[in-house]
């Protein structure tokens, strides 16, 4: 039992790395399945459109799913029609774009993984580029090949061209090589950009390293406590209501937070370096309702970054 606990703790400590690896494996598996089962290059003038659709539509779908699954999206948008001041607070109009930018960056992880895996595989790009009828592109690809290359390039992915095998094989290899180099470029650019942005965000952080770690732990436990207390109060209230309905009695009072208190508690949290509050609820409880409308200082993304619905 002890051993099992230790092993579980080991894996829980590395859950981000394990999560990302699992996502990468899933993307690789999905890409393989698509390219073996669903993808059939038409080998006609439609190659370019077909290849691009297979390359970018799954990426778009993954982006939308990423938006759906991030709870920060719903925290930002819930109730925004009724009260637009919520997302464009007075004196801080960029707040909405800043938060939306963070949500987009998080949602972009899966599409970028798909794109890099699809490009490293080479099938989709090969099909798309063999159908591109741009004269400059054809000159580069069909350099030093027979005349037939210009007319029959789109038949090469299906091995249906009348060119000799060595030539069509070389054309396929060239297109796949281009695709794989492009794939590596995408991966390197993404890795560099994410390292640079994380470094910049860390550098400008007003919160020290260990306090940030404590904050993450607090965030997780507050979420658990909230769910627990929701359950408790919901049970109490529903029991009281049903009992009074069936037994025709007067209900005894149960205190619940007011509508305005719920509104205040649902706001996205921003850290003020002069205060010591770890969440919106913490600030509400210590300062009362008036504290919420004060100026916001730094937006620290880590607080809400990894919430799951």
């Amino acid at each position: 039992m002890d051993g099992f606990q230790t092993v579980l703790k080991f894996f829980m400590n590395r859950k981000t790395a394990i999560g990302y690896s699992f996502m990468a494996l899933l993307t690789m598996g999905g890409e393989r399945v698509f390219s073996l089962v669903a993808f059939r290059c038409p080998c006609s003038n439609e190659n370019f459109r077909y290849g691009l659709v297979f390359l970018f539509s799954p990426a778009f779908v993954l982006l939308v799913i990423g938006y759906f699954l991030n709870s920060k999206t719903w925290k930002l948008f819930t109730g925004c029609w009724v009260n637009p001041r919520k997302i464009f607070p007075r004196g801080n109009v960029c707040h909405f774009f800043y938060v939306f930018g963070q949500i987009t960056l998080n949602a972009l992880v899966a599409p970028v993984m798909w794109l890099s895996v699809a490009l490293l595989n080479g099938t989709f790009y090969e099909c798309a580029m063999s159908g591109l009828e741009n004269p400059d592109h054809l000159n580069v690809v069909c350099n030093r090949k027979s005349e037939k290359c210009f007319e029959e390039l789109h038949k090469v992915p299906c091995d249906k061209s009348s060119m000799p095998f060595s030539e069509s094989d070389e054309l396929k290899r060239t297109l796949q090589a281009q695709s794989q180099i492009l794939g590596w470029c995408v991966i390197v650019t993404t890795a560099l950009l994410s390292l640079l942005t994380t470094c910049c965000a860390s550098c400008q952080s007003k919160v020290s390293h260990l306090q940030l770690m404590f904050w993450r732990v607090y965030e997780g436990t507050e979420k658990e406590q909230l769910e627990h207390i929701f359950q408790l109060y919901a049970t109490k209230l529903s029991e009281r209501n049903l009992k009074c309905f069936f037994e025709n009695k007067e209900p005894e009072p149960i205190s619940l937070p007011a509508f305005q208190a719920w509104e205040n508690a649902s706001q996205l949290y921003s850290f003020g370096s002069t205060k010591q509050h770890y969440s919106t609820i913490h600030r509400l409880v210590e300062e009362g309702q008036k504290g919420i409308n004060e100026e916001r200082e730094t937006m620290l993304d880590s607080v809400d970054r990894r919430e799951i619905p």
Partner: protein, 316 residues
């Protein structure tokens, strides 16, 4: 059951070495997969670019990952941008402090990329493809043999039999690759041994104390996690209860922002004092208010493990 526990204890005691071995094995396995499934040498003038991209770009990505995953990087970087309070900090001093911290971090981050390059060179696919397109190799092998030889050389990675048609007293491309691979492995091992000897030699701390120190760091980190979780649970309970009951919260002692900042500094060693971590130093110098807390110290490489003890999660 006992044997399983014994094996588990062994794993936990040697988890650093095991961790690095697993990283190396994973890198070698993925190199094998890439080499056999994904890699297809184009056998034309793009050989050099294609082969070098496959050899060097994954190594670079593994290096970046290595930096991201190391807790010391984030401990150094978090909140360290020069603010208005720091107008008398010399850029030279800051730069040298950064370098002093980043050198051991780089040493650890470089394990996976070097494994990738070494394994890739031993398998020879990537090098053979890149070298067949390289003009230097082309001049060496195809000396006085004209166009025909150059075209054949480009096609060699796709067809083994063509190599017999080129008469050359130079080693085949595969052999060259493997020689370079072994040379790289040998030199990395030598450099690692010499640098470990040098850093141990220059260590201001004795062998047994160092051993105790490593165990202390690990224990302190585990207790920090347990205590942080306990403290966070208590605070969260108070806050959520008060929110629902619309009452005022009971006073609850939690470390201030300044306290957290003080224990987040990178650890510096001072042979006059005997502190095993920043938390130890903070607690013993009257919560950091004593002048001794700010006293500068050295940053010996052998004590690099002190700030790395915290969980890998901290970077993300």
């Amino acid at each position: 059951m006992d044997r399983l526990r014994g094996a588990l204890d062994f794993c936990i005691r040697h988890q650093t070495v095991l961790g690095y071995s697993i990283v190396s094995l994973l890198t070698a396995a993925s190199e094998h997969i890439f080499s056999s499934v994904v890699f297809k040498c184009p056998c034309n003038s793009a050989n050099m670019l294609y082969g070098s991209v496959f050899l060097l770009v994954p190594a670079f990505i593994l290096l970046l990952l290595g930096y991201m995953v190391n807790a010391r990087t984030w401990r150094l970087l978090t909140g360290s941008c020069p603010s208005e309070k720091c107008c008398n900090c010399s850029p030279w001093g800051t730069c040298s402090r950064y370098c002093q911290v980043l050198v051991p971090v780089t040493a650890r981050a470089v394990v996976a990329p070097l494994t990738w390059i070494a394994v890739a060179l031993l398998r020879a696919n990537f090098y053979a493809c890149a070298a067949s397109g390289n003009s230097l190799i082309k001049d060496l092998i195809c000396k006085d043999q004209g166009e025909e030889c150059q075209n054949l050389l480009l096609k060699i990675p796709c067809d083994e039999k063509l190599s017999t048609k080129i008469s050359s007293e130079f080693l085949s491309l595969e052999a060259q690759s493997q020689l370079i691979g072994w040379f790289l492995i040998a030199s990395i091992m030598t450099v690692a041994l010499i640098s470990t000897c040098v850093s141990r030699c220059c260590s201001p701390v004795s062998y047994l104390q160092l051993k105790f120190w490593k165990i202390y760091s690990k224990e302190e980190q585990e207790h920090f996690e347990i205590k942080a979780k306990e403290h966070a649970t208590k605070l969260a309970k108070i806050n959520t209860n008060c929110f629902f009951e619309a009452t005022d919260p009971a006073p609850f002692q939690t470390p201030s922002n300044e306290d957290w900042r003080k224990i987040s500094f990178l650890y510096t060693f001072n042979s006059q004092e005997q502190y095993y971590s920043m938390i130890h130093k903070y607690v013993n110098t009257n919560r950091g208010n004593n002048a001794k807390f700010e006293e500068g110290g050295q940053n010996p490489t052998v004590l690099g493990f002190v700030d790395e003890a915290h969980a890998i999660e901290s970077g993300f």
